[in-house]
C-alpha cells in the first residue's frame, strides 16, 4: 500500500545516478540534460504548491519563472558591462554571486506573486485560469517591448555566475547545485504540506466554507501559498537562466506556463515527487521524440492527450496506484 515513498526514493536516486554515470562515460550533454530536469522539477515543485496543495490552477507561472530569469540578468549584466546596477538613490553594483541572485529572484518572484495573486484570487475556477494566463502574458509583452533588457532578443550572460566553493562552469558541479536546491525545495514542500498551514490550506481547497466558519480566511491561506509557489518557481527561473546563460521573453511566454503545468500533471498532481518524475519524463520524451521526427511536438501532443484521457493520476499515480491528497 505504501509504495509511493519507495518510488520517490528510486526517482530521486535515478536523477542522481544518471549524471554520475554520464560523467564517468564522458557524456557532458547528458549531465546538462539532467540539470535541466532538476531545474524544471524545481519549477514544478513551486507550481505544485499552488496546484496540488492549494488547488489553484495557475496558467501563469511562466511569469514567476521569467521574473527569476530576468532577475539573474538584471543583476549579472551590469557586472559584465562594468557598470553599476543603479546610481540613484544609492549606488549599487550588480553581482555574479548565485546566492545573492537567488535571494533577488525569490524576493522578486514573491512580490510578483503577491501582486498577481492578490488580484487573481478575488475570483476562482475558470476565471482564475484565464486571469493568471492574462497576467503572465502581460509580463511577456512588457519584456518584448521594454528595450532596456534586450527586448525581443533577450540578454546573454557570457560567464555562468559563481557559487562560493564550487566551479559552476563544470557541468557536474552545477548539476549538484541544482540537485541540492531541488532537494531543499522538496523538503520545504513536504514540511509545508504536513504543517498546520498546509492542513488549513488543504481544507481551504476542499471545503472553503468550513474553513471560513472555523475563523480562517481561505483567501489569506491561498495567497500565502501562491506567494511561496511563485518564489520557488522564480528560484528555478534564475537557475534555468544560469544553465543557458541567456534570458529571453520566451521564458515568460504562456507555452512555458503550459510546460510547467504539463510536467506537474505528467508526474501526478499533489504528489510530492510528481514534478520530478514529470520533468524527467518530459525531457526524456522531448529528447527521444526529437530524435525520431522534427515534428515531435505533434506526437508529444498525442501522448499527452492519451495520458489525460486514459491514465489519470500521472506517472506516480499509475505506479503507486492509490489516489491520495488530490481531490
Amino acid at each position: 500500500m505504501r509504495r509511493e515513498p519507495l518510488i520517490n526514493l528510486v526517482i530521486i536516486l535515478l536523477l542522481l545516478a544518471v549524471p554520475l554515470t554520464a560523467q564517468a562515460m564522458d557524456e557532458p550533454f547528458i549531465v546538462t540534460l539532467a540539470t535541466k530536469v532538476a531545474i524544471l522539477a524545481l519549477a514544478g515543485v513551486g507550481l505544485n504548491i499552488a496546484l496540488g496543495l492549494g488547488g489553484m490552477v495557475s496558467l501563469g507561472h511562466a511569469a514567476f519563472f521569467g521574473i527569476g530569469g530576468y532577475m539573474m540578468a538584471v543583476l549579472a549584466a551590469p557586472v559584465q558591462a562594468y557598470e553599476p546596477l543603479m546610481t540613484w538613490p544609492i549606488e549599487l553594483a550588480g553581482t555574479k554571486s548565485m546566492p545573492l541572485i537567488w535571494l533577488g529572484a525569490v524576493i522578486a518572484g514573491a512580490l510578483g506573486a503577491l501582486a498577481i495573486g492578490a488580484l487573481s484570487l478575488r475570483t476562482s475556477g475558470v476565471y482564475f485560469i484565464m486571469i493568471t494566463l492574462a497576467f503572465g502574458q502581460m509580463l511577456y509583452y512588457f519584456a518584448i517591448s521594454w528595450p532596456a533588457y534586450g527586448g525581443e532578443d533577450g540578454i546573454a550572460i557570457y560567464v555562468r555566475n559563481g557559487f562560493p566553493g564550487l566551479n559552476t562552469l563544470d557541468p557536474l558541479q552545477f548539476f549538484a547545485l541544482a540537485y541540492a536546491v531541488l532537494l531543499l525545495a522538496l523538503l520545504l514542500a513536504h514540511r509545508l504540506g504536513a504543517s498546520p498551514f498546509g492542513l488549513a490550506l488543504a481544507g481551504a481547497r476542499q471545503a472553503p466554507a468550513r474553513v471560513a466558519a472555523l475563523g480562517i480566511r481561505p483567501y489569506s491561506l491561498k495567497l500565502t501559498a501562491f506567494v511561496l509557489s511563485g518564489a520557488v518557481t522564480a528560484l528555478a527561473g534564475a537557475l534555468y537562466a544560469d544553465l543557458n546563460r541567456f534570458v529571453s521573453p520566451s521564458m515568460l511566454s504562456w507555452h512555458t506556463s503550459g510546460e510547467i503545468m504539463v510536467l506537474v500533471i505528467l508526474g501526478g498532481v499533489g504528489r510530492l515527487f510528481g514534478p520530478v518524475a514529470g520533468a524527467a519524463l518530459y525531457i526524456l520524451l522531448e529528447h527521444l521524440l526529437g530524435g525520431i521526427s522534427e515534428h515531435w511536438q505533434f506526437f508529444l501532443g498525442l501522448i499527452l492527450l492519451g495520458i489525460v484521457l486514459f491514465a489519470r493520476g500521472g506517472l506516480i499515480g499509475t505506479l503507486a496506484g492509490r489516489e491520495v491528497a488530490h481531490d
Binding site: V57, A134, M261, L309
Partner: protein, 305 residues
C-alpha cells in the same frame, strides 16, 4: 495629431474589437453551455485562416476560401468535440486545460507538417481593395470597414439565434440546467456538438478575415486566444452581450493606447524615451483594464456572479 487620424484609429480599434468578438463569442458559448475551458480555440482560428489561404490560392477566389474556412473550422471543431472534448465535460478544469493544451501542440505541429514553416499570404479580394472616402473626407480601407460590418452582422445574427430560435432556447436551457433538458428529451450530446462546431466556425471565420490583413502562420491563434480570454473576463463568462462589449472595449483600448500613449508621454519626455515607455505601457494597457474591472466587479461586467 489630427482628429481624422484619431477617428481612423478608433475605426481600427472597432474592427479589431469585432474580430475579437467572433473569437470570444465561441469561447464564452462553449464555457456557458458545457462548462469547458478550451485553450485550443485559437487553433480553430488558425485552421480557418489556413483553409481560406489554401483554397483561395488554389481557386483564385477569396469568397470560396471564406466558405472553406467556415466549413473546415466547423468540421475540425465537430471532429475534436466527438473524439476528445466530450470526454472532458465531466472532468475538472485542470484536465480540460491539459487536454486542450495537448490539442494545440497537435494542431500547430500538424499544420506546420502540412503547410511548412513559411507564412502564407492571403490577398484582400479585388472588389474590396483600396480605400473609401468617408463623410468628413477620411480615407479608410474598404476591407476593414467591411470587417466591421461582418462582425456586427454576425453579432446581430448570434443574438437572434440565441434569443429567438428553437436552437437558442435549447442552448439557454442547457446553460441553466443540463440534466433537466436532457430529461425533457433534448439530445444533449448533439446539442453540445452543434454549439462547439458553431463556436469553431466563428473562430475560423475570424481567422480567415484577419488572415487577409496579416500573414497566415502557425501559432497565429494564440495571441488572439489570450485576448479573447481577457475579453471574457471583462465581459463575464457565458454572456454574449458581455463578450461584445468586452471585445469592443479591448479593441479600442489597445489600438488607441498604442496610438495615444507615446504621444502623451511625448509632451514631457524626449521622443525616443516617450516612444519606448509609451509602447511598453500600451502593451500592458488591456491587462490593467482587466485588473481594474476585476477589482470593481470580480464577475465581469455582465457576469452572473
Amino acid at each position: 495629431m489630427s482628429a481624422m487620424l484619431l477617428i481612423e484609429q478608433a475605426l481600427n480599434g472597432l474592427q479589431y474589437g469585432v474580430m475579437l468578438f467572433l473569437m470570444a463569442a465561441g469561447l464564452t458559448l462553449v464555457f456557458g453551455v458545457m462548462g469547458l475551458i478550451n485553450l485550443a480555440h485559437g487553433s480553430l482560428y488558425m485552421v480557418g485562416a489556413f483553409a481560406c489561404a489554401g483554397v483561395a490560392a488554389a481557386t483564385g477566389s477569396f469568397w470560396l476560401g471564406l466558405a472553406a474556412s467556415l466549413a473546415a473550422a466547423a468540421a475540425a471543431g465537430a471532429i475534436v468535440e466527438l473524439t476528445v472534448i466530450r470526454r472532458l465535460y465531466a472532468r475538472d478544469h485542470l484536465d480540460q486545460v491539459l487536454a486542450t493544451f495537448a490539442l494545440i501542440l497537435v494542431f500547430s505541429e500538424g499544420t506546420r507538417w502540412l503547410f511548412g514553416s513559411f507564412p502564407l499570404y492571403l490577398d484582400i479580394p479585388a472588389a474590396l481593395a483600396g480605400p473609401i472616402t468617408l463623410p468628413g473626407g477620411i480615407e479608410y480601407p474598404l476591407y476593414r470597414l467591411v470587417l466591421i460590418g461582418i462582425g456586427l452582422a454576425v453579432a446581430a445574427g448570434l443574438f437572434w439565434l440565441i434569443g429567438a430560435t428553437r436552437l437558442g432556447v435549447r442552448i439557454r436551457a442547457g446553460e441553466a440546467d443540463r440534466e433537466m433538458i436532457a430529461a425533457l428529451g433534448v439530445d444533449i450530446s448533439r446539442l453540445y456538438t452543434i454549439v462547439f462546431a458553431l463556436g469553431a466556425a466563428l473562430a475560423g471565420l475570424a481567422g480567415a478575415l484577419v488572415g487577409a490583413l496579416q500573414s497566415v502562420q502557425v501559432g497565429m491563434g494564440e495571441p488572439v486566444l489570450i485576448l479573447a480570454f481577457v475579453v471574457i473576463v471583462i465581459g463575464g463568462i457565458g454572456s454574449i452581450k458581455g463578450a461584445l462589449v468586452g471585445a469592443i472595449l479591448v479593441g479600442l483600448t489597445d489600438t488607441l493606447g498604442r496610438f495615444l500613449l507615446p504621444a502623451a508621454f511625448g509632451t514631457f519626455l524626449p521622443p525616443s524615451e516617450a516612444t519606448s515607455i509609451g509602447a511598453a505601457l500600451a502593451s500592458m494597457l488591456i491587462y490593467i483594464l482587466m485588473a481594474a474591472i476585476l477589482v470593481i466587479r470580480p464577475g465581469g461586467l455582465y457576469g452572473r456572479v
